[in-house]
């Protein structure tokens, strides 16, 4: 403080000693210094210096490509935090009307990715009604309750992909609760008390203990699981040696990766294994060290599932992995976002039910194309009502006509709200619509000539059969 006081009094003294010209020069120099100092925070705070706006390309049905600039505050749950990595072209918007209605499930085969927080647990029901469980999450992570809610009385098969506690911790109680016929592992040992308790629980359950390697086949009723990993055990890397299983029912194939990593993936590609699958349970909770671009190209899935706990300590899933999945045009589901995710498979395709309904925005899907991959995706999303943008006139100048075309479920009741600076737009043409037989709904309205320029928000809602999806779209008036 003393130094500042002395500096100020010296300044005033010097100032008073100067003549008119001297005073003017001093004032000018001080102003210059002030400006320089201020401009630093101005540059930092200016909108252009905030994380670069994300560009999302939405090419659907029309040949035009709508380039929408999305600011990070738009309701993206995933991807928005990314700064250095490209944003997935597929991403989620907000959660709507949580439901947990699993009572109406049908389908010959059911694959449930159970929400066990940070960990893996996958329940599979065979066409004969036999149950298999791949991993059990941590202890007390809810796997017992879920199995009971599904009417499971005993397990024909339990697979422990590898001996980490977020995969086997919950199996201790599983063996204590459900009579289990067979336990399949890769034979790798751990030294934790959790692992020891798991071995003790297997012993007490009298389940048959089986160790598998690449090429082995495990049956669950008429379902067949082919073991793709481990080829040979690599010491000192429990994740890498995870049991990887490929299961096909009718025309639908699942690939269950456990915590397998890039090394496993590279080795499986090099071994020329059949990797093509419709649904990929990505390795290691979506961490950055799994699900390489080369591996994604080999598997070429339409849907990917990761299992991760909300707000986990490890940054799972990694934005890099989500970006790789998005760039490959894969629909991504995660237990942290969707809760328990159930695939119903009937041999000709599959549908998905999730505990929490979350919109899946799939800009790369072209409704008019009839390739098999696309139709599989449409089957996949039919249970989860979704909205995608077909076209939007944005940016638009004040005084012109705007048009928004969306694609959603045919017959869905659709509503739109255009939020401008002054609040919701009252323009004519923004009334409710019903999506036509092809699933399209179109709004045309005039953007008032005195509309404030900026990036605003359009919120579209579609409701069908008690299910609602909401999509938030950036809208620029320029």
């Amino acid at each position: 403080m003393q130094i500042i006081k002395r500096f100020l009094s010296w300044c005033i003294g010097t100032f008073q000693k100067q003549g008119f010209v001297g005073k003017a020069v001093l004032v000018f120099v001080s102003l210059l210094v002030l400006c320089c100092l201020c401009s630093v925070p101005i540059v930092i705070l200016s909108p252009k210096a905030t994380p670069t706006p994300i560009r999302v390309e939405i090419p659907i049905t029309t040949k035009e490509v709508v380039n929408a600039t999305i600011l990070p505050q738009v309701t993206l749950i995933l991807g928005a935090q990314t700064t250095s990595t490209p944003i997935p072209t597929n991403f989620y918007t907000e959660t709507i009307e949580p439901t947990s209605n699993f009572t109406s499930v049908s389908g010959n085969v059911q694959v449930s990715f159970i929400d066990v927080g940070q960990g893996d647990a996958i329940l599979i029901r065979s066409p004969e009604g036999l149950y298999g469980l791949i991993d059990g999450g941590e202890a007390d992570s809810g796997v017992i309750q879920y199995l009971k809610s599904q009417g499971v009385q005993n397990l024909d098969l339990v697979v422990a992909t590898h001996p980490h506690s977020d995969h086997i911790g919950g199996l201790v109680a599983v063996f204590q609760t459900f009579p289990t016929a067979r336990v399949v592992t890769n034979g790798e040992m751990h030294t934790t008390a959790v692992y020891e308790n798991y071995l003790d629980a297997i012993a007490v359950s009298k389940a048959e203990y089986i160790e598998v390697v690449r090429g082995n086949v495990i049956k669950l009723g008429s379902l067949t699981f082919t073991v793709l990993n481990p080829g040979r055990i690599v010491e000192g890397d429990l994740n890498r040696n995870s049991v990887v299983l490929r299961m096909t029912y009718g025309n639908t194939t699942f690939l269950f990766m456990g915590d397998a990593n890039n090394d496993t993936e590279a080795e499986m590609i090099a071994a020329d294994l059949p990797l093509k699958a419709d649904i990929l349970k990505v390795g290691h909770h979506g961490s950055s060290t799994s699900t390489s671009a080369a591996f994604l190209a080999a598997v070429d899935p339409t849907a990917a599932v990761y299992s991760a706990g909300k707000g986990n300590s490890y940054g799972h899933p990694s934005p890099d992995t989500l970006a790789r999945l998005g760039n490959a045009g894969v629909n991504v589901l995660g237990t942290d976002i969707h809760g328990t995710i159930v695939f119903l498979v009937d041999g000709t395709g599959y549908s998905i039910q999730t505990a929490r309904q979350v919109l899946m925005l799939t800009p790369t899907v072209t409704p008019t194309t009839n390739s098999t991959a696309i139709s599989a995706t449409q089957t996949a999303t039919s249970e989860v009502i979704s909205i995608s943008v077909v076209s939007l006139t944005s940016p638009i100048s004040p005084g012109s006509m705007a048009q928004l075309t969306i694609h959603t479920a045919p017959g869905a009741a659709c509503s739109i709200t255009v939020y401008l600076k002054s609040g919701a737009s009252q323009a004519a043409g923004l009334g409710p619509q019903t999506a036509d037989a092809s699933g399209q709904a179109i709004w045309m309205w005039k953007v008032g000539s005195n509309t404030t320029r900026g990036i605003w928000k359009i919120v579209v809602q579609a409701t069908l059969g008690g299910k609602t999806a909401t999509l938030s779209i950036p809208f620029e008036v320029k």
Binding site: S165, M189, T191, A193, D200, I202, S287, Y314
Partner: protein, 83 residues
């Protein structure tokens, strides 16, 4: 509090410890552990408010756990538990 812990796994720059008899999970920075510590090593740790104050590898405990658990695993492989 001084207690035993075992390294369940490494997750990036973090380590997941299972602490004490209850095997409570504790996620710590890997740099708080001895550099040579591996997955599966038992440690003598001093833990306070979810922080590791000190960690020393307990080679004896690790060897004892390995041998005890390997025996149990061998019995399962031989199917003795089903006789």
């Amino acid at each position: 509090m001084k207690t035993k812990a075992v390294i369940d796994r490494f997750e990036g720059d973090k380590a997941v410890l299972l602490v004490g008899e209850e095997q409570d999970r504790l996620v710590v920075l890997r740099s708080f552990l001895p550099k040579i510590a591996k997955e599966g090593d038992w440690l003598q740790v001093d833990v306070e408010d979810d922080r590791v104050l000190s960690a020393v590898i307990d080679a004896n405990e690790t060897a004892a756990a390995k041998s005890r658990i390997a025996d149990k695993l061998a019995r399962l492989k031989r199917g003795e538990h089903r006789e």
